[in-house]
Symmetry: C2
């Protein structure tokens, strides 16, 4: 079974390659309806599929975009990926993905490889530890959209979710429910804006309500199975007057709830809980979990459309920054009056 090329089609239809090409690409500079039909028939008969590589080589556009994500395990990222995938299709593009695993070396290498493959542009959740490389990338005018995190000092297309707002919504909600000693639990991470912003939201909400800096209760632990639970246990034992916990991520929430259960404290009566990230399982937990919903799907979709827009305009429009708003989903775990 040999490969069938445009030449085969041309020969069999008794026309030139040019004509075939024009017909395929709807550049019919007034081709006769008759030849058009003949060529189309031959194409079907031979089951001809144009070689996208050759086309891309010639036109230096591949209609493929790349996505670099950093973590597939977290369902938040799955929904982002879905948004990217859908938007990609709707625009007639294809999607290549790879996973940096939060490692800057991988991130850099994968981007290089995307460029070698002539991928038209990329959507990325950056590790934020390759500042020079990204500066170069932006300078080279390679179409790029950064999502979920910010790249300090770089004027680049960016779609993020308002973390300060989300966190402070969560904390204010707890305050409104009469909670007074609210702890925040988070990963220790120097680089990533996300965490810093959520903690900042927690801080602002409390300070605005008249708390002093010393009243803040911030629990930090490594991003490592079990560490968060340990840290939470230790903290709750040392600060038994804590009456609410704000958790900054969906995986953290699960460990926090385990810790509370292990201490035999009831949720929400003794300790209220609000988690970051809405998930499929949140409403099925016991008690159902109050969460901050992040529009991940939308973020993916918007970023992709932005990227493709940039590709179409040869990246000549000024970079845009978009901030999406999170949403509070109230369930029983936060002790709200029903």
């Amino acid at each position: 079974m040999m490969k069938v090329t445009i030449t085969d089609v041309a020969k069999k239809a008794g026309v030139s390659k040019t004509t075939v090409s024009r017909i395929i690409n709807h550049n019919y500079a007034h081709t006769t309806e008759e030849t058009r039909q003949r060529v189309l028939d031959v194409i079907k008969e031979l089951d001809y599929r144009p070689n996208a590589l050759a086309k891309g080589l010639k036109s230096s556009q591949t209609n493929v975009i790349g996505m670099v994500l950093s973590n597939l395990k977290n369902p938040f990222w799955t929904s982002v990926l879905e948004g990217v995938e859908d938007a990609t299709r709707n625009q007639g593009f294809h999607l290549m993905i790879c996973n940096s695993d939060e490692e800057p070396e991988k991130e850099e290498q994968y981007i290089r490889e995307f460029r070698m493959r002539q991928v038209d542009g990329i959507v990325i959740n950056p590790t934020v530890r390759n500042p020079d490389f990204f500066r170069q990338l932006v300078d080279s005018r390679y179409p790029l959209v950064v999502i979920n995190r910010k790249l300090p000092g770089l004027n680049v297309n960016n779609v993020v979710i308002n973390n300060v707002k989300g966190a402070s919504m969560a904390v204010r909600h707890l305050l409104n429910n009469g909670k007074r000693n609210i702890a925040a639990v988070t990963y220790r991470n120097e680089h990533v804006s996300t965490w810093k912003e959520r903690i900042q939201g927690y801080r602002t909400a409390l300070l605005d309500s008249g708390y002093a800096a010393e009243d803040l209760r911030i629990v930090e632990a490594e991003q490592d199975s079990g560490k968060i639970k340990e840290a939470t246990l230790r903290f709750l034992r040392e600060h038994p007057d804590t009456d609410a916990v704000f958790s900054t991520n969906n995986m953290i929430t699960l460990e926090v709830m385990d810790a509370i259960r292990e201490l035999g404290l009831s949720i929400p009566e003794r300790i209220a809980v609000v988690g970051y990230d809405e998930t499929v399982w949140a409403k099925h937990l016991n008690p159902p979990l109050t969460t901050i919903r992040q529009p991940g799907y939308q973020m993916g979709q918007i970023a992709t459309n932005m990227l493709i827009e940039a590709i179409r305009t040869k990246n000549e429009t000024e970079p845009k920054q978009i901030v999406l708003e999170p949403e509070l989903i109230v369930r029983r775990s936060s002790g709200a009056a029903e």
Copy 2:
């Protein structure tokens, strides 16, 4: 900022394109260390990145594989994707993905597009509703690995997980824990082998233990938010002697547990539960959930390695069928003695 090509490098280094090509691809038919170094320096200086399109066009291999999955929302598929992604990288390949959403038309179109893009082969969870198309695909000797489901009557590379075994393990475990009236909850779906096999495993386990066909308790509902919960509620009300539920999928499990809670029945004392699919949240449910763990990551990994093997051997080896074994993870929800 112009694109730099192999010609630029050759010119600047004062050698021919051939030499540069050889050096890049480590085909140094004894190139002088000196010229090698010089060329390498120029490559770095010019920040030359070979155009993979041109290379692919010439060598008619792109080192890209495609994956067609049918559902990104379920975390089981995320772990499969991870396995595929990792294996792809480890073999120096790249990955393109798309989502058929269980729609046969999309599935077919995406595969066609993969082939146009000269993707070297694909891994797919098929909708099983394109039998003719797949037969053609196999006949054309296009490298292909089918995962998770079986394509009846087609001799093709296949990696699946033993569903009959998994289901019967779950049911036997419940029997061993003294449960006698075990219901199975599942989606209604004509096409997909997965569910039929899980129900078959349930059936076999019970029949083998001396139950009659009339004793089977199979609850079916549409795959639609809330339907499963409704159906479960109805069934448990009509059959109050039911003392255990085997759920055939992780999403179903969540709804089943909701239903049981809504009826005020304790898990596992009054009703024991075993769920299909291990998830991050299973051990954090209340009570922690006994599950059947499916080696999804491995399935992805093995399928990918198989595919790349097929690509390397030009698909000349006989198709292989691999069946992976699931594993029972015992937690409190099934009422096991600790």
